[in-house]
Symmetry: C2
Subunit: 498 residues, 2 copies
C-alpha cells in the first residue's frame, strides 16, 4: 500500500503540465500502472472497480436493447484476418503475431528457455485487434435464412494493437473493451442498429459518467477500417483536447462479401447480410479522469465510485474509537438501506490526515468524519469531494442528506462539464481565427469544410486539428470552407484530439 | 438458428457412446462450437449465459471473502516466464509465443499479408497460460512492509495452453477462467487462504451447480507446477470418470524467491512473501453437462439456467394466440415478482413441437404450455425437465407451484448426483478388485497407496487411473498398498479422469 499522506499535495498542477498531472494521477490514485510488458498496463483494484461499474451498466443497457453476450477466439488465422482487405490494411501494422506454440530448454543457457524452432505454426495467428474477421467467419455457419436474423451479439474481451507510443488507459497495446457484432437482413435495420448503439453510448456517457458528448458521424478518412459509416460520440477534456469515447459502425455488406455470408430472403432470393459493430474500451477511464478531476486528484461521479461514501473515525482513545465505530455502524446501515455504498475506513495503521488525503486523491464523492466533539453533539462532518466544502450536520439527517448530495453531485459534475464544453465550442469563419482559437483557447472549433480529403489533411498538417465529427443535430447552414473558401452546407467539429 | 425439431431424438444415447453424446449435446444445445482456430472454441450465447451465472455467483463469493478484482497483461516476457523454474517447465511445452508485432503486404501474393521480418520482438512474449509470473513481478513493487499484506486479488481472464487433443469446454487451447493470486505475511495465513478457496469452490459446486465433490489434496506428481500443495475438488461424471473441478494452490515462497519479493515484518526483519493461487474455468461447463444431462439433452439446475421457466403458447387462431399471450403475460409477471426468470417463447416461425424439443434439449428446468383447453379451464400444463413429468394445474397456483418446483429440482439434481457418486465410490483391497472395478463399474476407487511416485505411475500405466486426491476428511485407517503391499495409513481416491 503506498503512503497516501500529502500525496494530493505532490500532484503536479494541471495548469503546469496537464499530461504529467494525468500520468501521475492514474498511478497515485491507484488506478493503473505500467507493466513489465511494453505498452501493456496493470489495472489495479481501485481502477478495475470503476471499470466494473461501467461494465455492469453497459451490459444492462445492451441486454435491454436485445443483445446477448458470447465469446469468440483470441486468435485470428492470418488467412481470415486478411479476407476483408480494408480492415486488414487498417490493422496490419499493429498486430501481435503468434508464430510458435512451444518453448524448449535453451541448450546454450542452462535454466533458460527458447522458442522451439520445430514448433512453428503452419499458419500464423494474429492476436485480435478487433474481431470482425473471426466473428463473420463464424456467422457464416449460423446464417442461412432470414429467420436466422438478426443476430445481436456482444463480447467482453481483451484486444491487442501494437501501439508505439502508449499512455495508461488512453493508448495501450492491450486493452479491455466490449465489441458488439450484429447481422441484419436489411440495410435500414443495420443503420438503425448502429444509430441505436450511438444513442446507448450517449446516454451512458452523459447519464452515468456525467460526460457530455457530441454525437456525429466520422469523415471517410477517420472511419473504422472496413466501415461504410462510423457514428461516434466526442467528449472534451479539460485541456481542450477532444476524446473519441465510443463508436458504432455500419459495415454495409463488406464483411458478408469477404466471408461469403448470404441468406435466403422471405421472397426466396439470396442476399448478402448487413453488418454493424460497436465498441467502447478502458479508454473511457481516461475520459472520466480528464473530465472531472482536479489538482487534488480524482473526482468521481457517484454512479462510478467504488464506494460513494467513506467514514473516517477521529479518536485518541480506544474508548472513543469504540463509541465512534458504533455510530459509524449505524450510519452505514442507514446509508446501505438507501442503496448507497459506503466504506468504514477503520484502519489503525493510518492517521486521519493520511486517510483524508487518500480519499481525496481517489475521488470518493462524500466523506463523513466522526470525532469526539461529534459524539458529544450528535453530529458528523460531511465533506463533498467535488466542491471541497464541508458542513456539520445532525446525525438523524445523515441518510437523507447523503442521498440528496449524491444525486446533486452527479448532476453538478455533468453541469460543470457541459458548461466547460459549451464555453469551448467556438465557431470560426476564417483560417486565422481557426488557428488562433486552437492555439489559445483550444476546444472544439465549429467551421465550414469543403468536404474534400485534401483540405482535411492540409488542416491537420497545419494545425494538428482533425475533424472529430459531422455533428448529427447541426443545423444546415450555407457557408464557405474555412480553409479553401469553397462552398459548404454545414459546419463540422474540429479539435486536436487524444 | 438451427432447426431444433426432433433434435433430442437424433442425439446419440449415452449408453451407446458417451463421448459422442457429449460432443453432440454441446453443439446441438447451442452451448459452444469449434472455431476456425485450432483448439479454440466459440462460446455461443446460450452457453455464455450459463457461464455468466457461474461468474456472477463466484464473483460474489470472492468479494464476500475479501477479494478484489484487477487485470494483468495477457503477455508474459520470456525472461519473466522462465523465472520460476518448475512453473516454467510445467507450461513451456504448451505456450503460444508472440514473436512479431507487424504484418506487411506480401510482395509475392497481391492482397495477402505476411509477417514483417523487420518487426521481430527483441524478447518473445508468451501468451499467459497462467499469470503467476507476471503478477509476482508486479507484486514485487507493491509489497515493502507487512502493512501491505495481505494482497487478495482475483482476475477474470482468458488463458492459452496449446493442447494437442482438444474437446469443447473440457480441454481447449484458449479458455476463460478466474485466477486468484494472494500474498501473505505468514505460511499459516497462506495455507488458510488456499483452504478457504477450496471450501468456496466446494460450496459453489454443491449448492449452486448441484455437483457433489470430494475435497482433497493432490499427490506431488499431480500438483500445479510451482506449488507446494494443491487443494482440489473432484467430481464424478456419469460415465464413471472423474473431473477436477477447481484447484487452489499453496505456493510457499517459490514465486517470492523467483521474483525477489520480500517484506519487512512487524519486528523489522526481511522475509519472503507467502503465496497462493486458485482457479476455476469454463471446464466447469463440461462438469455441469456430464453430471446432470440425459439422453434427451441438457438438464440445468435452476440456479444456472439462463431462464428457469419457458412458456409455450399452443394455438390455432390469432384470437387464441392473443388470449393465451394475455394469460402468459400475467403468469410472467407473477413469476418475475418472485424472482423467477421466465421467457415467453412467442415465436411464430416455430411450431410448439419444435419449441418443446428445443427447450428440452437446452435443459430449461420448467416448461409451461398454455392451449385453448387451458383457457377454458383456467389451467396450464407444467412440465419438469429433470423428471420429464407433466401435470395440469390451476392458474392461481402457478407462482407458488413454480417456486416450489424450482427449489425441488435444484435439490433433486444434487441428490441424484450424490446418490450416483456414492454408489460409484468403491473400496478395493487388492489389485484384481481394483482393476475389475475400474473396468466394469468405473467411478472412484478407494484404495491404500504406499505413498511412492513409482507405485502411482505403475498403477497409471496399468489401469489409466490416477490418484485424484487424498481426501481431506478420510479417516485414518492402517492398511496395505493395493499395488505394492507396503504399509499405508489411509485410503486415497483413484479414478480414470478427464
Amino acid at each position: 500500500m503506498p503512503n497516501y499522506n500529502n500525496m494530493g499535495k505532490n500532484l503536479t498542477k494541471r495548469a503546469e503540465d496537464y499530461s504529467k498531472w494525468y500520468n501521475e494521477l492514474v498511478v497515485k490514485a491507484d488506478l493503473a500502472e505500467n507493466s513489465a510488458v511494453r505498452g501493456c498496463m496493470v489495472i489495479k483494484p481501485y481502477g478495475y472497480a470503476i471499470w466494473e461499474k461501467m461494465q455492469a451498466e453497459l451490459d444492462r443497457m445492451f441486454k435491454e436493447t436485445g443483445h446477448q453476450n458470447a465469446y469468440f477466439p483470441l486468435f485470428v488465422p492470418k488467412s481470415l484476418f486478411e479476407a476483408e482487405e480494408k480492415n486488414a490494411e487498417g490493422f496490419a501494422k499493429e498486430c501481435a503475431v503468434v508464430t510458435h506454440y512451444r518453448l524448449e530448454n535453451d541448450p546454450d543457457k542452462p535454466g533458460k528457455l527458447r522458442v522451439d524452432p520445430k514448433a512453428k505454426l503452419e499458419e500464423e495467428l494474429v492476436v485480435r485487434p478487433t474481431s470482425e474477421a473471426v466473428i463473420w467467419n463464424t456467422y457464416k455457419n449460423w446464417i442461412q435464412s432470414y429467420r436466422d436474423l438478426p443476430i445481436l451479439i456482444n463480447q467482453w474481451a481483451n484486444v491487442v494493437r501494437w501501439e508505439m507510443r502508449t499512455r495508461l488507459f488512453l493508448r495501450t497495446a492491450e486493452f479491455l473493451w466490449q465489441e458488439g457484432h450484429t447481422a441484419h437482413a436489411t440495410k435500414q435495420e443495420a443503420l438503425e442498429e448502429a444509430q441505436q448503439m450511438n444513442q446507448v453510448y450517449t446516454d451512458f456517457a452523459q447519464n452515468f459518467m456525467a460526460i457530455p458528448v457530441i454525437q456525429g458521424t466520422k469523415t471517410e478518412s477517420e472511419r473504422f477500417a472496413g466501415a461504410e459509416q462510423t457514428y461516434c460520440i466526442e467528449a472534451l477534456m479539460q485541456d481542450g483536447k477532444a476524446l473519441q469515447a465510443g463508436t458504432s459502425h455500419f459495415l454495409g455488406q463488406n464483411f458478408a462479401e469477404a466471408f461469403d455470408v448470404k441468406f435466403m430472403t422471405s421472397e426466396g432470393s439470396q442476399e448478402y447480410v448487413w453488418a454493424t459493430s460497436w465498441g467502447v474500451s478502458t479508454r473511457l477511464m481516461g475520459a472520466l479522469i480528464m473530465t472531472h478531476s482536479d489538482d487534488q486528484g480524482l473526482v468521481l461521479p457517484p454512479h462510478l465510485a467504488p464506494y460513494q461514501v467513506v467514514i473516517v473515525p477521529i479518536y485518541k482513545s480506544d474508548v472513543q474509537f469504540r463509541d465512534i465505530s458504533s455510530v459509524a455502524d449505524s450510519v452505514m446501515k442507514s446509508l446501505t438501506a438507501r442503496g448507497i455504498s459506503v466504506k468504514y475506513d477503520n484502519r489503525t495503521t493510518q492517521r486521519p490526515g493520511a486517510k483524508f488525503a487518500q480519499h481525496e486523491l481517489q475521488g470518493v464523492p462524500l466523506r463523513i468524519a466522526i470525532g469526539p466533539k461529534d459524539l458529544e453533539n450528535g453530529t458528523v462532518e460531511l465533506a463533498r469531494r467535488d466542491t471541497l466544502t464541508k458542513e456539520t450536520i445532525n446525525l438523524e439527517q445523515i441518510a437523507s442528506k447523503t442521498e440528496q448530495l449524491i444525486s446533486e453531485i452527479q448532476k453538478a459534475l455533468y453541469a460543470n462539464a457541459l458548461d466547460f464544453r459549451d464555453k469551448h465550442m467556438t465557431p470560426a469563419d476564417n483560417f486565422e481565427d481557426f488557428k488562433n482559437i486552437l492555439e489559445s483557447k483550444g476546444g472544439f472549433v465549429l467551421a465550414h469544410w469543403d468536404g474534400t480529403l485534401e483540405t482535411e489533411q492540409k488542416i491537420k498538417e497545419l494545425t494538428k486539428a482533425t475533424i472529430r465529427c459531422i455533428p448529427m443535430n447541426a443545423p444546415n447552414e450555407v457557408g464557405k470552407c474555412v480553409f479553401s473558401g469553397a462552398s459548404s452546407k454545414r459546419r463540422v467539429l474540429f479539435a486536436k484530439a487524444y
